[in-house]
């Protein structure tokens, strides 16, 4: 093996000593910064043995938190997905006034602190908020209950599916759909037989990332949930509660479930990227505003 990538003359930084030293330093830092936090979760979760771990997971409050987290994801993720597909269809298949502005608005939640999102929801549905008094007299509970948790989760993940689809559908243009429609296919038929097969991996990619964020969201949910043990505690909130109760083994047992979810998400991400997902938008995956899609080159003028 030569020092550089095979068959190329040595490039900048290919001197063997420098190369080895840099790889060594970087891998050491990766071990400290990325691997150690993951390892310490596993270590702490099982530090008192398998039985304590199993008991911590099987505790009714923990099971309830897991259930609430799953229910939240089961509601928030499909709604988000429908929104993402609709937004991508509207933005990439049509030209209309305010299109670029809409793109920016969809991306806003990425830039906003989850705490700000939570506080903002309080001023809509809380007693001191816009609709609070009306909701109170109608006896509808949104805050400190499941609807509030779902709404806050939908805010923080609003862009996840749309931003995977928009660059891809932009690049694919409108030719195929226009051909299908001109041959007499209905709108739904066109979407399911022509568009969906082309975007399925990117769609799944967006759904996987969206799900990971919904299940792990902490800041926004902690404001709107009210942290009622065994009632409105999602798994991340339950971890905080156990941790501050000095139930370290329990906190890390609960944390290990979410860490496992993170690892599964990373594996799914790698597999989906092999299918070409995530390519159209080359940038940070889970939290960054996407680079503005290039419109001029990709669009088909009609």
């Amino acid at each position: 093996m030569s020092a550089s990538v095979k068959g190329r003359p040595p490039r900048v930084g290919d001197a063997p000593g420098f190369r080895r030293a840099l790889i060594g330093v970087v891998l050491t830092l990766v071990a400290i910064v990325i691997i150690a936090p993951l390892a310490v979760i596993g270590y702490q979760a099982f530090s008192q043995g398998l039985q304590v771990y199993a008991a911590a997971i099987a505790h009714p409050d923990t099971l309830h938190a897991i259930g609430l987290t799953v229910v939240t994801a089961l509601i928030a993720v499909p709604i988000n997905t429908a929104f993402g597909v609709a937004a991508a269809w509207a933005i990439t298949k049509f030209d209309f006034w305010g299109r670029r502005f809409l793109l920016v608005v969809i991306e806003i939640p990425f830039s906003i602190s989850p705490i700000v999102a939570g506080v903002a929801y309080l001023f809509v549905y809380g007693l001191q908020g816009l609709f609070g008094p009306a909701l109170e007299s109608a006896d509808i509970k949104i805050l400190f209950a499941l609807p509030g948790i779902v709404l806050a989760s939908m805010f923080v993940t609003a862009p996840f599916v749309a931003r995977e689809l928009i660059p891809l559908m932009q690049a694919q243009g409108r030719d195929l759909e226009e051909a299908a429609t001109s041959l007499g296919a209905s709108g739904w038929r066109t979407f399911f037989s022509v568009t969906l097969p082309n975007i399925r991996w990117a769609l799944l990619y967006g759904v996987v990332l969206c799900n990971a964020r919904v299940m792990g969201e902490f800041g926004a949910v902690s404001v709107v949930s009210g942290n009622i043990r065994g009632q409105t505690n999602t798994l991340p909130l339950h971890i905080e509660l156990l941790y501050h109760d000095y139930q370290t083994a329990g906190a890390f047992a609960a944390a290990s479930i979410l860490a496992l979810l993170a690892v599964v998400t990373l594996v799914a991400k790698v597999l989906l990227e092999r299918q070409g997902a995530g390519r159209a938008r080359r940038g940070p995956a889970l939290a960054a505003p996407a680079a503005a899609p290039k419109t001029a080159s990709a669009e088909v003028s009609s």
Binding site: R11, I34, R174, A291
Partner: protein, 273 residues
Amino acid sequence: MARRILPGFPLALGITLVYVSIIVALPLGALVFKAASLGFEDYWRIVSSPRAVASYRVTALSALAATAFNLVFGMALAWVLVRYRFPGRRFVDALVDLPFALPTAVAGIALTTLFAENGWFGSVLAQAGIKVAYTPLGIMVAMAFTSLPFIVRTVQPVLEDLDPALEEAAQTLGGSDHSIFLRVILPLLTPALLAGLSLSFARSLGEFGAIIFIAGNQPMETEITALLAFIRLEEYDYQAAAAIASVLLIAAFLMLAVTNILQARALRYTARG
């Protein structure tokens, strides 16, 4: 305006607008409305109170330090992943996204345990007299962890697409590695680096979950702005919560504008190259 050939425009745009209005615009509007209803004097009194100003300082300085660390580490990581082949490279490449995939509360308790005085790293650092957990240094560690992927993932594609001919030309002209990196490669990476820096800094300003476990949360010393907004809320001081949250909102919009400008420039730059 072009003719609309494809069906589904009213439905798709309708769903999009309803969702964006209810989920995104309504709450942010309510927050701005609440903060604006304070009146300038009350608003200013709250946002310029010593405790609030101390929280801005802690948040901004820690975010700067974390971003500086990520600038160096993130660029080295991107370089190693793109330019060198070594066993485990793909594994490390996949691991880079872990800070985004790992819920922040989980990251928070993991980092706190590692850096506490009896932790794996904390015990070693304590011998050197360095305290990380429950100090501003801890805030920096949490911010650096949660925003690490930004710089790696913005620099990586640019580094991959870098034309080897540029380096070769510089090498034929007798440039040393050091000077070629500084004069040829670094300028080409700068737009992507700046975009990554602004994303990383913006994320650090708003981070909450990972920080509150490790920060110690002492008012005036290790209390971040997001936590102060949260505390005001728990004290039922909704006006103060709205005002302080609005400061974070304004900071987020400023960073969003900066990021968009930098990314547009980065795109133009790449397109030209």
